[in-house]
């Protein structure tokens, strides 16, 4: 009996792999998704690590997931519901707090408690950042052009990219000044950028957080302003820049995608780690798994990051040495850790008044850019930050499905934590030390916090690297710096989702437009694959 040949095999059941698979299945292909873990979702999961609590133990909030994808894949049918944030707050050592809210007037009023100037500048700042969001939004669903190609398709693509900037409809026609602003925005540091608007440390520190989450840049590093944009360009129901929780935890996103895939006839096989891509006559024809199975397909799509794709599951002999070197030089740096905590009750944060909606979103306690940069300096030296930037949230305050009534789940994201420690590798002791360090930091702002802990999980970049499969535990599967964005992502000249090996494709966050539970790389990759197979997609918005 000859072995079955699928139309496409997707390696890795993360949200991008599932997105790509769903689009392909929807277009009529016979798709198989292989996942190494015994659960699907990759970094977008809800797991019951302690009985009674759901943990969004990797990614924890949702904003970037493209609404077009939710629409095309009809994710609502499979239970996906996004709950918007009510606000966010930074707690201060002097017992005060700084908050932003869902309501603009309330935010302005709140900022003016700290500085009238900043409250006013916030309007102009919002407008300028919003303008950048509008500029970048259509680019998210384009395949970056190959600027070196003289093929008509690529030249048209490049023109499309360029035309977009002058388009009158979406952006209202950018003027000379706005284009210069854009160039500056993409290359500046967030510290310099915020200095152009704000005068108080607390405003700048609160806003700068988005510019460092997940990256190996500090707030003073040029290019960090773009990272801020990357976190702002998402939307919750048209409200650009807002964040929300996925009801039921981040796993509901991948669960819905998985259901969608199955409803279109696709297959998911868990506990099947792909060990190598089978290449014959220069074409990818299938994959082999750890237990010795082989699966064959017309197209192989890798949802692993570019390093794992080409250095781990592809034979180096199938690639040009030059390409391999570029992959090796691709920067994926682990810089973030996580604490996932099951709480017996709601911890109090005395600096935020009770019932203040600012307390219902993300909470922080970094008060100055200097402190944030200092945290980065620790990381550069191979230490976890003594004064880390922390992004805490309690989804269970808004989502009744995360924990039993009165109980809470708290997700604590920590920036910066190195993948490798200067004084030797990670071990159980160091991991516990790190966890305790963070818990003590939080306890400084919440006296009853420690007593409420029922269970917690510490995740270092090393853990994320080993378990989830994100190289070095980098949440974007590749640094978001100029040299690795747009047509440079992942490798300049290979930004069109096609690997140098025929019939092998990439759909991970290592590709344009990058990470952040966006789904766009997956959808873009599917579009390229289908177009190579001459299959027209109908009725899709992506």
């Amino acid at each position: 009996m000859t072995k079955k040949i699928y139309d496409a095999i997707v390696v890795g059941a993360g949200h991008n792999g599932l997105t790509a698979a769903s689009y392909m299945a929807k277009a009529g292909l016979d798709v198989l998704v292989l996942e190494k873990n015994d659960y699907i979702g990759g970094a977008a999961v809800s797991r019951e690590l302690f009985p009674g609590w759901k943990y969004s133990n990797c990614s924890y909030v949702c904003s970037l997931l493209r609404p077009e994808i939710m629409r095309d894949l009809e994710l609502y049918k499979y239970g996906l519901q996004i709950i918007p944030y009510e606000g966010s707050a930074t707690m201060m050592k002097n017992g005060d707090y700084y908050a932003h809210y869902h309501d603009h007037d309330m935010t302005v009023k709140s900022i003016s408690r700290h500085s009238k100037h900043d409250a006013e500048a916030y309007d102009r700042y919002s407008r300028d950042v919003m303008r950048q969001c509008k500029i970048i939004k259509p680019l998210l669903k384009m395949t970056p052009p190959d600027l070196t190609s003289f093929k008509p398709k690529d030249i048209l693509g490049a023109l499309e990219f360029a035309k977009h900037f002058a388009a009158k409809d979406e952006l209202g026609g950018l003027g000379e000044k706005e284009i210069y602003d854009t160039i500056r925005f993409y290359t500046m540091s967030i510290a310099d950028y915020l200095d152009e608007y704000f005068e108080t440390d607390i405003t700048k520190a609160h806003l700068a957080g988005s510019a460092i989450i997940g990256t190996a840049l500090g707030p003073c590093s040029p290019g960090s302003a773009y990272v801020l944009l990357h976190h702002y360009m998402g939307e919750v129901d048209g409200s650009i820049g807002s964040w929300g929780y996925a009801r039921g935890g981040m796993g509901s996103i991948t669960k819905a995608m998985g259901e969608c895939l199955k409803s279109h006839g696709g297959t998911i096989q868990a506990s099947s780690e792909v060990t190598n891509v089978i290449v014959k006559n220069g074409r990818a024809v299938g994959v082999a798994t750890l237990n010795g199975d082989e699966f064959y397909a017309k197209k192989v799509v890798s949802n692993l990051d570019v390093k794992r794709t080409f250095l781990k599951i592809t034979d180096e002999s199938d690639l040009q040495p030059d390409f391999v070197e570029r992959v090796k030089n691709f920067k994926i740096r682990g810089s973030s850790g996580k604490l996932n905590i099951a709480l017996e009750g709601l911890p109090t944060f005395p600096s935020i008044p009770k019932d203040d909606p600012g307390g219902n979103g993300d909470l922080h306690f970094t008060e100055t850019i200097e402190e944030m940069e200092g945290a980065y300096d620790d990381w550069k030296r191979g230490q976890w930050s003594k004064m880390p930037y922390v992004d805490m949230c309690l989804p269970s305050k808004s989502d009744p499905t995360m924990a039993a009534p009165g109980k809470h789940f708290m997700s604590v994201f920590i920036q910066y934590v190195p993948f490798e420690l200067a004084n030797g590798g990670w071990n159980e002791q160091r991991k516990q030390d790190f966890g305790n360090h963070i818990i003590n930091r939080i306890a400084e702002y919440s006296p009853d916090f420690k007593d409420l802990i029922a269970h917690y999980e510490v995740r270092t970049p090393k853990d994320i690297h080993d378990e989830v499969g994100l190289t070095e535990g980098n949440i974007f599967q590749g640094e978001l710096t100029m040299d690795q964005l747009m047509f440079n992502r992942p490798i300049t000249g290979y930004a069109q989702y096609r690997a140098p090996i025929k019939d092998l494709y990439m759909c991970s966050s290592s590709t344009h437009p990058g990470g952040g539970v966006m789904g766009a790389p997956g959808a873009n990759a599917a579009r390229e694959i289908l177009s190579d197979m001459n299959i027209k997609q109908k009725g899709n918005h992506y």
């Binding site: 809210y101 309501d103 007037d105 309330m106 302005v108 009023k109 009238k116 100037h117 006013e120 500048a121 309007d123 102009r124 407008r127 919003m130 303008r131 509008k134 009158k168 952006l171 209202g172 026609g173 950018l174 003027g175 000044k177 706005e178 008044p353 019932d355 203040d356």
Partner: protein, 398 residues
């Protein structure tokens, strides 16, 4: 009523205790971070108060800035497009100011308290723009919005009301003049200015006197048909007067997300406030000069007289060939004029050379169904209503 104000999104004005009591409809409006009354009783009655007796409106949310220093006058003259080099103490000027591209940032009024001290009153937050503009002038610029309680007292009997209130000889105050009064032991700045197109005054005082001032005014006007007016009625009278409003008829450059939405003064009928002959440089002068010389003005803001009686809210304007040539920014069936009027932004030459043969497409709600009306309209002067009493000196006294 027990509201925790620290948790509230909006601030109360110093008149809130009075306005909320007078507000029988519980109909509120968000204005620059403040709660103000949209409608006290009915909009028609409040509107009529302005044209018949006196209306009182809470103006506190208008942004006010104080500019002090030796070069204050030079700065003001550089800041606005109008030539204010001859501006005298205790006068007020209506002005606009632009950015470097010659697009309008906002309009407002400048109060000259003395040659080294000015106040600017406007609709959009202006502190950072003022501060950045004043770079190099060594001035003291402060946001005094919360330090001033402001009321607008407008209508044919307004002068009499204020005289009863204690403003002696007010009738001799000319339009765009201001004067300090001490009434009941507190000081009030009264200027003959307004946004209604009628005889009227604006009063500024310290917030601690606000409630006292409100009460005395109501008492002084009790035989002169006084009535508090909400935001809805204000919109009616200002359209009749042909006044433009930032955020409605044009977008401030400081808020415009899309650069094409920014407007030059010539595009919003404010060309008369641009004095290119002014000796010194003013912000936007180079761009405005170029626009004037090269004739690159794209749009024009005009008044429309529309057939029928259905107001053309948000209507699109077409030419004969059914091509889209503009949009209605504000519309009203005028109770006084008995005309169907609108303020509209048109693409030139419509509105300048071509004034007839344009149409508006009105969707008029009629019992859950929209009726599409194709109405002809005529370009007319934007100032639809301006009674003689508005500028009479001495002012009419009852």
């Amino acid at each position: 009523m027990n509201i925790d104000l620290t948790q509230a999104a909006l601030k109360f004005t110093p008149f809130h205790n009075r306005t909320s009591r007078a507000c029988r409809t519980n109909s509120w409006y968000r204005w620059s971070g403040y709660t103000v009354v949209a409608e006290y009783s009915t909009t028609e009655l409040e509107y009529t108060a302005t044209r018949n007796g006196t209306s009182v409106m809470d103006l506190t949310p208008m942004y006010k800035y104080e500019i002090k220093g030796e070069r204050a006058k030079e700065f003001i003259n550089y800041f606005v497009t109008r030539d204010l080099s001859e501006m005298k103490d205790n006068t007020v000027a209506y002005v606009i100011w632009c950015n470097e591209a010659g697009k309008v940032v906002d309009d407002g009024t400048v109060f000259c308290l003395n040659q080294n001290e000015f106040k600017i009153c406007c609709a959009v937050k202006m502190q950072t723009w003022l501060k950045d503009s004043a770079e190099g002038f060594d001035l003291d610029i402060n946001d005094v919005t919360d330090d001033i309680a402001a009321l607008s007292v407008q209508g044919p009997t307004s002068c009499s009301v204020l005289k009863n209130y204690g403003a002696t000889n007010l009738e001799s105050l000319k339009p765009f003049e201001s004067k300090d009064f001490t009434i009941d032991g507190y000081s009030v700045l009264i200027s003959r200015t307004g946004f209604t197109g009628d005889l009227g005054y604006e009063l500024w005082t310290n917030p601690e006197n606000a409630e006292k001032m409100w009460d005395s005014l109501m008492e002084s006007g009790k035989h002169l048909k006084i009535r508090p007016m909400g935001m809805h009625a204000l919109e009616m009278v200002r359209i009749e007067a042909g006044f433009i409003q930032t955020g409605t008829d044009f977008v401030s450059t400081e808020h415009a997300l899309r650069p094409v939405r920014m407007r030059s003064p010539y595009e919003i009928g404010m060309g008369w406030l641009v004095h290119l002959t002014k000796k010194d440089y003013f912000i936007g002068k180079r761009a405005l000069k170029a626009e004037k010389e090269n004739g690159t003005t794209e749009r024009v803001l005009v008044g429309l007289d529309i057939e029928g009686d259905k107001p053309a809210h948000g209507a699109v304007i077409y030419n004969k060939k059914k091509e889209d040539v503009g949009i209605v920014t504000a519309a009203l069936w005028s109770p006084t004029l008995k005309r169907n009027i609108a303020i509209a932004s048109l693409m030139r030459p419509y509105g300048t050379k071509i004034k007839d043969d344009i149409f508006v497409e009105i969707y008029h709600p009629e019992e859950l169904e929209y009726k599409k009306i194709w109405a002809t309209c005529k370009v007319v002067k934007r100032q639809f209503y301006s009674p003689e009493r508005r500028n009479m000196v001495p002012a009419e006294v009852y």
